[in-house]
């Protein structure tokens, strides 16, 4: 499912360098990535999703050599094969929950919005317990509910791989467990691969395995590693 080979990545102008000789995550596997802040966990997700491109080496995901794809092919790859969940949910404030779930179908022409998709969106919302709240706007939802909407948005295009960056980082303990349960259930039921970046060691026993990322970066872990917003592709 995910294959990283001789990967080298360095942010322009930064002293942070990520080096991964080989990393393999199998189809249907549920993996937790752990490590201190700034060690490259989010960078890994960005590389796998094709948001960032490596300086050397290759990234293969869902059968595509992501690192070799053009910008537009990487966007199509991302929207059709990857589902992404973020720590701060990142819902669009002026769209209600239903429209947020269907957002991928509004921003990329390669996805066709039809009644089947709408039905699937509704079923997803029902399955995560927000079926009666799809008409609400993000500010009208609790944080746990917002994250459920974000999970539905990540799943609506039926991706093969789900990447979640600290999905429980902003949630209270009760919501934390619920959201993680939902993520694991959704991946289990459809055989999807799940990669979750987390700081929360208490959750590790819920995954098939965890990868400690401390060994993959060369510089001292600090906050100098830029956020994904500083990557070349986003800023270009």
């Amino acid at each position: 499912m995910i294959e990283l080979d001789q990967l080298r990545f360095r942010y322009p102008g930064g002293n942070f360098e990520l080096e991964i000789d080989r990393l393999h995550i199998a189809q249907g596997e549920k993996v937790a990535i752990v490590g201190p802040s700034g060690c490259g966990k989010t960078t890994l997700l960005n590389l796998v999703a094709g948001i960032s491109t490596p300086d050397n080496g290759s990234v293969t995901a869902c059968g595509d050599v992501v690192s070799g794809l053009s910008d537009s092919r990487r966007r199509d790859f991302r929207i059709s094969k990857i589902g992404m969940v973020f720590q701060r949910f990142d819902l669009v404030e002026y769209l209600n929950a239903r429209d947020n779930i269907l957002l991928p179908f509004q921003i990329n022409r390669s996805l066709i919005l039809n009644n089947d998709v709408r039905r699937r969106a509704h079923e997803l919302a029902e399955s995560v317990g927000i079926g009666d709240k799809t008409g609400r706007y993000p500010h009208q939802l609790s944080q746990g509910e917002q994250q459920r909407v974000a999970i539905c948005r990540a799943l609506v295009a039926q991706p093969e791989l789900l990447l979640a960056d600290e999905p429980t980082g902003n949630l209270d303990p009760a919501s934390k467990t619920t959201v993680l349960d939902i993520l694991l259930e959704q991946c289990d039921s459809e055989g999807k691969t799940l990669v979750v970046v987390t700081h929360d060691m208490s959750l590790l026993n819920r995954f098939d395995r965890s990868i400690d990322f401390t060994t993959f970066f060369k510089s001292a872990p600090d906050s100098s590693a830029p956020d994904v917003s500083a990557t070349d592709e986003v800023q270009a």
Partner: protein, 391 residues
């Protein structure tokens, strides 16, 4: 609607306050100069066309603009009056149409004139009959519509001032007809015979027969057949078949006032001769060509408008800069949203489209509102300008 277009629409409708402010900015910036242009064009076309159809006006010396406005729009000005006898001088060169518009009836000008005026302006009775006797009036279409009166009704002239208890007595006039609309100042006139206006002014009146009066308190003195009425005699407020014969005028009619006299000469030579009459230093009246006076007025108006136009351009530029600022701030505020869309799979093109469509919707809504406002303005501009001219 779908894709970025749908998202842009959702953004615009969700952020109603922002949308309202932007739309209002664009709406006002565009509408203001357009509205001024529409009103000014209407004003020019109305005032010029009426002036062009009125070759010459003779009236009291003083402001030629006041005289022209008084003759064309029955405006109550300080233009003064000329004696009715002036018509005789003009009739040596052409047709003289006296106009006396000193009084009002329910705030519409009472226009006292002769039958020649109706032919000159092409006024046609649409309902009822033309006025025939003293105390009759025929009203313009707007007067009829606004006051809700029709032939057979009565219309009371206004006192000159509300506190003028001891002054002229209002006259109850009989409405005989309503003129067809002309979209001119004539639609606002209450047309009467000159003598009726002079009755309103108190130069003529009717009262009970003092020769055969039983109550001697009505008579102040009788001297060689000349009877002087006492203040106890109350003049008639209405002219009827029964009392019309008692109406009489005190003084010489030639000395009675008129506001202006429209002169219609058969040829240019006659007009030049007439103008020459009033060009002499000892002339008590002045000769005015309304078309020239009105064009001078319009020249002044357009000079003022050019200042306004420059101002409108500056406002337009500042609005454009304001919009740019709003867009730039919005981009900054929405950086995270754009980033999320990019991470999910949107192209940079999609984000640009979103911004473009949002501004497109703002301009579209503003444009629709401006179009509606312009349509309404064009529909009512004639009436508005009429009111402005009549005052």
């Amino acid at each position: 609607m779908r894709g970025p277009l749908l998202l842009a629409w959702k953004y615009v409708t969700y952020n109603r306050t922002k949308t309202f402010i932007l739309v209002a900015c664009i709406f006002l910036t565009v509408l203001l100069p357009v509205a001024v242009k529409i009103l000014l064009d209407k004003f020019e076309s109305q005032i010029v066309s009426r002036a062009d159809t009125t070759p010459a006006v003779i009236g009291a010396r003083g402001s030629d603009l006041d005289l022209a406005l008084s003759a064309l729009y029955f405006k109550r000005t300080d233009a003064g009056t000329v004696p009715f006898s002036e018509t005789a001088t003009i009739e040596k060169h052409g047709i003289a149409i006296p106009v006396y518009s000193k009084f009002t009836a329910r705030e519409f000008p009472v226009v006292a004139t002769t039958l020649d005026y109706y032919a000159f302006r092409g006024l046609q009775i649409a309902e009822g009959n033309m006025l025939t006797t003293l105390g009759d009036c025929a009203i313009g279409s707007r007067v009829a519509a606004e006051l809700g009166i029709k032939p057979g009704d009565q219309l009371l002239s206004d006192r000159e001032t509300v506190l003028d208890i001891g002054g002229m007595t209002p006259l109850k006039m009989n409405v005989t007809g309503v003129f067809a609309p002309t979209n001119s100042a004539d639609d606002n006139g209450v047309f009467v015979d000159l003598k009726t206006a002079w009755v309103i002014e108190g130069l003529g009146h009717g009262h009970q027969d003092l020769e055969n009066v039983e109550d001697e308190l009505m008579v102040m003195s009788r001297d060689d057949g000349e009877i002087v009425a006492s203040p106890a005699v109350v003049p008639y407020l209405e002219i009827t078949e029964n009392n019309i014969d008692s109406f009489h005028f005190h003084g010489e009619m030639d000395d009675f006032p008129v506001s202006a006299i429209i002169a219609v000469t058969p040829d240019e030579k006659s007009e030049t001769l007439l103008e020459g009459n009033y060009g002499q230093g000892n002339a008590t009246a002045q000769f005015v060509r309304p078309s020239i006076v009105v064009r001078e007025l319009m020249d002044l108006v357009f000079k003022v408008k050019s200042v306004f136009d420059a101002n409108a351009v500056l406002i337009g530029v500042s609005t454009a800069l304001l919009l740019l600022l709003v867009i730039l701030l919005s981009l900054k505020l929405r950086a995270r949203e754009m980033q999320t869309m990019f991470k999910i799979g949107a192209s940079r093109n999609t984000n640009a489209k979103l911004q473009l469509y949002e501004m497109g919707f703002i301009f579209l809504i503003s444009g629709i509102l401006v179009a509606i406002a312009v349509r309404v303005l064009m529909q009512y501009s004639g009436e508005f300008v009429q009111r402005m001219l009549i005052g």
